[in-house]
């Protein structure tokens, strides 16, 4: 089957396509998170060093990974938008930012919940924690810059540049535990070495991560549909057949 990709780069053509994908991603997310929670909270044994407090890993690591991954994807869409001057790309940037900010917030809060019993402090000005906090400010910056500029095209470009420049912080967060002497533990899972955790724990963590990823896809596609409606409403009346129909149905 040949798919005409360029057709879907038009926001109004992408709108119904996104609508068809959302239930699938949402269902997979719900099922995967349910199984991940079952394994993480009920099946996985305790950690011999940290006791049951380690179970925070099943939300903390997936949230932290999504916070960085979504930033890279957001910056990627910003780059495409700036390069090709494509409206839909900027809309994707706009749609990803709130979910990325939410996962950054969750990584910080669940990290505090883990830090208190294991380190004795909710917060320390450690390289990993500080760079992740900066990531939260970056997401806020990308969103605030957009809302502070009235002209839509200028808002797109300014927040796009902001998102793109900020991507330098991602490798800093990722490698902070190697580059600096930090309190935060090193990577439990890396691409170069065998995972330093039991298979059942790793399975639970990877399922939760996959679930959060699918959740993000569903939520971001729903938000980009809202953004399309908000920004392209004036064009809707001229294309009543396909899009107005889709809008009415769903």
């Amino acid at each position: 089957m040949k798919i005409n990709w360029s057709k879907y780069s038009a926001p109004l053509a992408f709108y119904p396509l996104a609508g068809k994908m959302i239930p699938w991603f949402g269902t997979v997310a719900a099922l995967t998170i349910a199984v991940g929670l079952y394994i993480g909270l009920l099946v996985a044994p305790t950690d011999f060093q940290q006791g049951e407090a380690y179970r925070i890993i099943f939300v903390h690591v997936p949230a932290a990974w999504m916070s960085m991954f979504l930033y890279v994807v957001m910056a990627g869409w910003a780059a495409v938008g700036l390069g090709l001057n494509a409206r839909l790309s900027f809309m994707m940037t706009q749609a990803i930012a709130p979910t990325g900010a939410m996962f950054t917030f969750l990584a910080l809060v669940t990290g505090a919940m883990w830090g208190k019993p294991t380190w004795g402090a909710w917060w320390v000005w450690d390289a990993r924690l500080t760079s992740e906090l900066i990531l939260l400010f970056q997401y806020a910056g990308v969103m605030l810059l957009r809302t502070s500029i009235d002209d839509q095209r200028r808002a797109d470009r300014a927040s796009g540049v902001c998102a793109l420049v900020g991507v330098v912080n991602i490798p800093i967060i990722y490698f902070s535990v190697q580059w600096w002497n930090t309190l935060h533990q090193g990577a439990s899972v890396s691409m170069t070495a065998a995972p330093k955790m039991a298979t059942i724990m790793l399975t639970g963590m990877l399922l939760m991560t996959f679930g959060f990823w699918m959740y993000s896809l569903a939520v971001i596609l729903s938000r980009v549909r809202c953004v399309i409606l908000e920004r392209e409403s004036l064009q809707l009346w001229s294309k009543p057949s396909s899009v107005a129909e889709a809008v009415e149905v769903r």
């Binding site: 009920l42 006791g51 939410m102 009543p240």
Partner: protein, 57 residues
């Protein structure tokens, strides 16, 4: 298959219950809140675009 001996054992989380459950509950609340906010945003956007479509069409 299940690791815990009893329900209270499960809820106590070896003395770390407060930290573990707060983490999971905050995560769940944020995700549910995001879904609700999106639903409300969608309802508002649809009403807005219907209004524009009607006034122009």
């Amino acid at each position: 298959m299940v690791y815990w001996k009893s329900v209270s054992d499960f809820l106590e989380m070896g003395g770390y219950g407060l930290y573990v459950w707060t983490s999971f509950i905050i995560t769940a609340l944020c995700m549910v809140w995001e879904l609700l906010a999106l639903w409300r945003r969608r309802v508002a956007a649809l009403a807005e675009s219907r209004g524009i479509t009607r006034s122009l069409g």
